[in-house]
Symmetry: C2
Subunit: 211 residues, 2 copies
Amino acid sequence: MGIPERKEKQKLEIRKAILDASMKLFVEQGFENVSMRKIADLIEYSPTTVYLYFKDKNEILYNLHEMGFQKMAEYTTELWTIKNPLVRLHKMGEYYIRFGLENPAFYDLMFILQAPMEALQGMENCEWKSGDQALGKLKETLQECVDKNLIVKGDVDAMAIAMWSLVHGMVSLAIRNRFDKVVTGNQEAAVLMNKGLTWYLNALDASGNKT
Amino acid sequence: MGIPERKEKQKLEIRKAILDASMKLFVEQGFENVSMRKIADLIEYSPTTVYLYFKDKNEILYNLHEMGFQKMAEYTTELWTIKNPLVRLHKMGEYYIRFGLENPAFYDLMFILQAPMEALQGMENCEWKSGDQALGKLKETLQECVDKNLIVKGDVDAMAIAMWSLVHGMVSLAIRNRFDKVVTGNQEAAVLMNKGLTWYLNALDASGNKT
DNA sequence: TTGGAAACTTAACAGCGTTAAGTATATTTG
DNA sequence: CAAATATACTTAACGCTGTTAAGTTTCCAA
């Protein structure tokens, strides 16, 4: 029977159409314009039809958040060619910040908004795979740095949390406009962030080249 | 003429009633239940009356955000008795994290949500006074650390951004549930955060006591 | 051809922030 | 004191939001 297969395929096509429409709205009109009705308009179905393919809006946003991680991966591909783990760590931070500042809407979805995490509850396999994977890469690099005595030692889990928090803090404060009125005069926020990152990593440097 | 004065006083009283009601909703029912209609219900006026005392909802949220800073000040009072700036810096971080984790709704309003910053635009004196002041204290402490050769030197503005971002990153990732599925097993997130902070500050220590 | 399942729509609920227009209630003026 | 004006407040509505229940159309198999 080839008919159930074709049916299944069509179902997937509509699912894809919904996600494409969501993405289009998200990219072209911003997060606040991604609504069930607007998605339905774009795919030329009634609003309630969307609910036959996705449990709720959170599930759609979860999928967009996954696409954000894909986009992020584009920023970080060349990292894995870097041999020196400390240099890689530094670049990791730089690229993370760059991704966040250049894709604030995606960043929001990935690391700030509750929606994708709420979708994660209420899923059978409710691990945060994307986040886990990214953090894993960070931990690996940190472990390498520790193994090669390149940085001050510590609990790798705690180090990873700190490192991630540092760059996430920078990006999230920036895109939520907490630096606007506060970062003094002539220095651009992005410059200051990278300076801060450099200072931090320099301090971590176990070789003791403190300037 | 004492009548205009009494009028003025009444106006302020209603303003206060609105803010009290907002706060009540905020504290007892959470941010998502602070709505113009519910505020109006509580003060027993019609929803539109609220607009005679506040330009819009953002302006109300701005005021709540200010109260958040007051509450935060309660957590940090004893900091200013600490003589050693490096110890003070460490405690600053700890108290910041503690405040954030114990008051996630306030923290949201103060450092994550756009609403208060949008209210700030559209004000005559559109400085972010509270944020500026808090960051100022951090910079002072960092400057003291630098002056006394307690930490690795650097651009104080960049150092402040980094330090703030570290703790903000931790709190915001935690309260937006990014640690839930990712922070491994038995170690509690809060413990890991403080470990991370300690590791960070230990690395900054200029005395070279790297463990 | 008919019965039933699957796909889709209509209508509605209950909420949201906000505005325009209308109605009371004071206060000031003639 | 009465009329005019200014102030305070309300009613009704607009245009959204996510979501559900019930009804309709379309398709496929017996």
